[in-house]
């Protein structure tokens, strides 16, 4: 529990430096070895997507990264400090937006709630929460209850809650899995925009290969049994991305095919 209390006190991470270091993490549930031996360094300021077949242990890995779950062996550290509980500089966006928001709190109060634990003044909390909701385009819905909003909007509330916290790193577990295709691409673009705007680091779990390639600076492909790192790919797709033009570049097609093959190679023998 030797986490630094507030993010402001730390020097801002230089882009490219290692922010979150995952060293030989493995996880067993009883006799079942889910995660084999996973090592990866998440760089400050990057967008890292983790892809892998269903049941591969992506959620398990993300929970280990966040300190919600202790790995069986290996370690995770954030700027050299071992992660044993969710650190103050980290925010998590859960897959199940409808269940991760408090139905008894307004949209604004949902976003403000985590800030209450800090010593921030009330007015400051309100300002930050409102700003975060503006960032995700929900300025007009502050007083609604989350369940009065559409699924996509609810997930944006959850994202705003993570942003209001001003984390250095945001972990997202299949955040767009349960919304329709159009909302999904909107949320992807929103996430990219927000990330550039705020300069945060994002680790996002998905099983959608297109999504992984489209969003990422690097894609971490998981596979095998127990699950290990199959590949770690730099996308080099640049800063500005567009759902149509980026996805129709030959580079995108190539990356997509590569990840697809890697995942298929992993899943087919595993089923026999």
């Amino acid at each position: 529990m030797n986490q630094p209390a507030a993010n402001q006190e730390l020097p801002a991470p230089q882009p490219g430096q290692t922010l979150l270091s995952v060293r030989n993490v493995s996880k067993k549930y009883g006799p079942n070895e889910i995660l084999g031996d996973i090592s990866v360094d998440v760089r400050a300021g990057e967008f890292l997507c983790i892809v892998g077949p269903s049941g591969a242990g992506k959620t398990t890995l993300l929970q280990c990264l966040s300190g919600l779950l202790a790995p069986t062996s290996g370690s995770v550290s954030l700027r050299g400090v071992e992660v044993s509980e969710p650190p103050a500089e980290m925010a998590i966006v859960f897959q199940d937006y409808s269940r991760s928001l408090m139905p008894w709190l307004s949209v604004l109060d949902n976003v403000a709630l985590p800030l209450r634990s800090t010593k921030m003044a009330k007015a400051e909390i309100k300002k930050k929460s409102t700003a975060a909701l503006e960032e995700v385009g929900l300025a007009g819905h502050l007083d609604k209850y989350p369940w009065q909003l559409s699924g996509g909007m609810q997930q944006r509330v959850a994202i705003a809650r993570a942003l209001a916290f001003e984390p250095a790193i945001v972990l997202m577990d299949e955040p767009f899995a349960s919304v329709d295709a159009q909302t999904r691409s909107d949320l992807e673009d929103l996430t990219l925009k927000v990330k550039q705007h705020l300069g945060i680091t994002i680790v996002l779990v998905t099983h959608d290969i297109d999504e992984a390639v489209y969003l990422s600076d690097r894609v971490l492909v998981l596979g095998g049994r127990p699950t290990e790192v199959v590949d770690l790919i730099e996308t080099h797709l640049g800063e500005d991305r567009d759902q149509i033009t980026t996805k129709s570049t030959p580079q995108f097609a190539e990356l997509r095919a590569r990840v697809y093959q890697e995942i298929r190679r992993q899943t087919v023998p595993a089923q026999s």
């Binding site: 509980e85 980290m90 859960f94 991760s100 008894w104 634990s117």
Partner: protein, 252 residues
């Protein structure tokens, strides 16, 4: 306009019934069922404002005190037991047993230890009211969505913050359901303890009037008890509508 319509819709039956009572009892010569018109005259005479000060205020005071005590003990204890699963499992049979024992069965022993005054009455009301609130709070605290607890952990919320912003709000619909039940029980226990206890209170007033063959006054006391129960329930409903607004519109 709509509210007015609703009020009228709720009021027409009571008005018809009171009207019927008025008309049918008008020529009554029976000692035990005097005409309603005379009861109403007597009601004004007895209760405004001597009776209100002398008997209604103490009744109201002890029912509120007992109920609030039960609310505090029930919610606090229920939250604790809801969080301590193993302890609660061990205590569950005892709690179920106590809950199933009619509260007033403890009257004789309560009078032995606490006498027949205010303490005994408030204690009995609070005791009987605690069970529904306690057991409902336990269930409400238990049913918290696990994802919310992960959210709480990931944002490093303290235990107190979790109780205040997650466990209790999540349990609040059940707490209110238990509270409503408790309020009805409170009225019964209040009347019973007043009838066997020391003078003072509407329950005592009714019994005393009957003993003195003052049947008119007795009826006014019964009506007063009805009104008291009705108004308490109304106040409770208003509070519930305010606090559980989110729950009511969500499930509308």
């Amino acid at each position: 306009m709509k509210a007015l319509k609703n009020i009228l819709w709720e009021l027409w039956l009571p008005i018809v019934l009171v009207g019927l009572w008025l008309v049918l009892s008008a020529g009554s010569k029976t000692f035990y069922f005097p005409p309603l018109a005379r009861i109403m005259d007597k009601f004004v005479h007895v209760w405004f404002f001597d009776g209100i000060l002398k008997d209604l205020t103490p009744s109201l005071g002890r029912i509120l005190l007992g109920f609030i005590l039960a609310l505090v003990v029930g919610v606090a204890g229920g939250t604790l037991l809801g969080l301590l699963r193993r302890t609660e499992e061990a205590l569950r049979p005892v709690l179920e047993f106590l809950r199933s024992t009619p509260g007033v069965a403890l009257l004789p022993i309560a009078t032995l230890f606490l006498g027949v005054g205010q303490e005994m009455k408030v204690f009995m009301i609070a005791l009987a009211c605690t069970w529904p609130i306690l057991l409902n709070t336990i269930d409400g605290v238990r049913s918290v969505e696990p994802v919310l607890l992960q959210v709480a952990r990931s944002y490093r919320m303290t235990m107190w913050e979790r109780i205040r912003f997650i466990y209790i709000p999540n349990a609040s619909p059940q707490i209110f359901a238990g509270g409503r039940l408790s309020l009805a029980i409170a009225a019964v226990v209040m009347v019973v303890t007043e009838m066997i206890g020391s003078p003072g209170g509407v329950g005592y007033f009714v019994l005393n009037a009957q003993r003195n063959f003052d049947i008119l006054s007795m009826w006014t006391g019964i009506i007063m008890l009805g009104l008291l129960g009705y108004l308490l329930n109304l106040a409770f409903r208003l509070a519930e509508n305010r606090i559980l607004r989110w729950h009511h519109i969500k499930n509308a």
